[in-house]
Amino acid sequence: MNGAMEFLLWTKGPMFQIALGIFAVGMLARLFEILLLGRATNHAEARAGEWLPGLRTVFTRTIPDPGTFRRAPFDVLVGWIWHLGFIIVLLLSVPHVELVAGVFGVSWPTLPNPVIDLLTAITLAGLVAALLHRLLHPVKRRISIPQDYLVWALTFAVVLTGYLAYHRLVDPYPLALGMHILSAELLLICLPFTKLTHIFTTVFARWYNGAAFGRKGVRS
């Protein structure tokens, strides 16, 4: 019991600082690494501006074109479902909002626990479906690298340990909560160095895409 409590305090204290530091410095470095490369001046006569089409694509690319949806409905739906579940649980569950309220003193409305519980289960199921698809689909299998499975495991672990802690399925409780917090920290640490960077860089990728096509008069 004592060891578990120490473990929890460690995850809440020093480890939390370390994870946050690595994440913040790492992610800033990655963004600089990308943006400082810049782009060559474009001398071709533009048909339209870049800013608005770029911003447009940042949003519109979230929804696939009808043809792609028809060809890959499973990919699109599963991706959507578990991403939404993940983000809602992260932002709108009682323990998380209370945590933020405790640290920063700001809070916002939460979803009832049974709803969060259901969303958590759906997110876990969605992630399992995504993993199976990665293992079974010939294209996904061909292009996957070990990192993809690591990133999956980290993401899955955060949600799973949260669920285990909430339902007191691991004894002692401090160990359960400590595991949850530690897995969230591992996710943060790996974020700048894996494809998890897409959480931040997707905005830039979409903007560049929308800007390049928009300049030529094409909505992308």
Binding site: E45, T68, H198, N209
Partner: protein
Amino acid sequence: MSELSLERGLAALRAEIDAPVAAFFSSCVRCGLCAQSCPFYLETGDPRYTPILKLEPLRRVWEAEFTLWGRIKRWLGLGQEVSDAMLAEWEPLVYDSCSLCGRCSMVCPVGNDLVYMIRKTREGMVQSGHAPEGLVAASVRAIRTGSPMGLQWKTLAVQIQHVERSTGLTVPVDRAGAEYLVMLSSMEIINFPEYLEAITRIFDHAGVRWTLSTQCFEATNAGIQIGSKDIAAELVERVVVAASALGVSRVISPECGHAFTAIRWEGPNLIGRPYPFRVFHIIEVLDELRRDGRLHTEGKEADRLSMHDPCNLARKSGVIGEQRALMDLVAEHFVDLDEHGRFQWCCGAGGGVSSNERAEPLKLAAFKRKKAQIEAVEPERMVTMCATCRTQLEEGLEEFNMDIPVVGLTEMIAEHLVERPAAEPEPGTESGQPA
């Protein structure tokens, strides 16, 4: 080009990496959706043809040299190197199975502009000596003779004579002070001489001051297809010199998709400065004439027509509404293919695939996408506006025993022009179509 080597290839790849490329590779979640947009994957079912995989050489250079983590991995000896053998293995992926159609760039959920990066990867392939023979030969011919097919002005001069005889009009050559300089493609001159005849008629009808140039008549760009900036810039520079010599304010690209994107979008960047003239595709010019009330047509085609959008014109250059407005002018029963405009499917022959004999089976496989689209609409004829697309559609449809003729939109417009009252003394005489 002097000695090609792995080092030069890597240097070329390195030089191509910019902020968009870094943002794209950083964002890829390896979801594989881009495969669902690529005719080469969809029609073969071979996962090697997944667009993001075609970029692996460029991605490795980016990771090893442009990311902190990659540098650490390399230092630890864990990095993935790009070797000569790897580039050799990738050559058919980067060239044979990609028509640079750009569809993947519209579909990737994180917004990766994949075709932008495939175009860049080819720079490294060329410099490392891993470009397909067919494209190398076309580039050498283009640089030496001015035409990727080795065609010379005297062949065009014969076509001009035919056109002048059958139209009774003069084809203006080297006319300084004309508004438009018309550029052609060798493919057009050889396979579709009716195009030159059509624009001769249309421009006479609309009173457009135009000219051809003996100094440079070819505007296709083998350098763009193979992926060599030096060659591409040289070919663009020739057009700029010819246009400047004649003092034209506008240049019309050939009815050829890649030629248009080459001269319209890449050209000024290749030569490092803006042009002293503007560039248009013939379809844009015709639509402008239509809007200005300078095209008077009569009668309409009565059969069921559908249209193939060339990738380079529609998705990669935003010319989508223009050809439809022109169709409405001359066609009664026009039906679009299901996925058209910016989401159209490639004919399978672009991006140098048609100049690369080795890619022949893949070219035919990719065409099956187009074929299925055409079958769903059941047109009596197909209309298009790119010589390469048109050749591919004709050959493909024939291969599958589908009796659907393919016609050029410009020629169709020319056939519906209202006869000008007593323009020239001598209307079209016996000689007919030049062969």
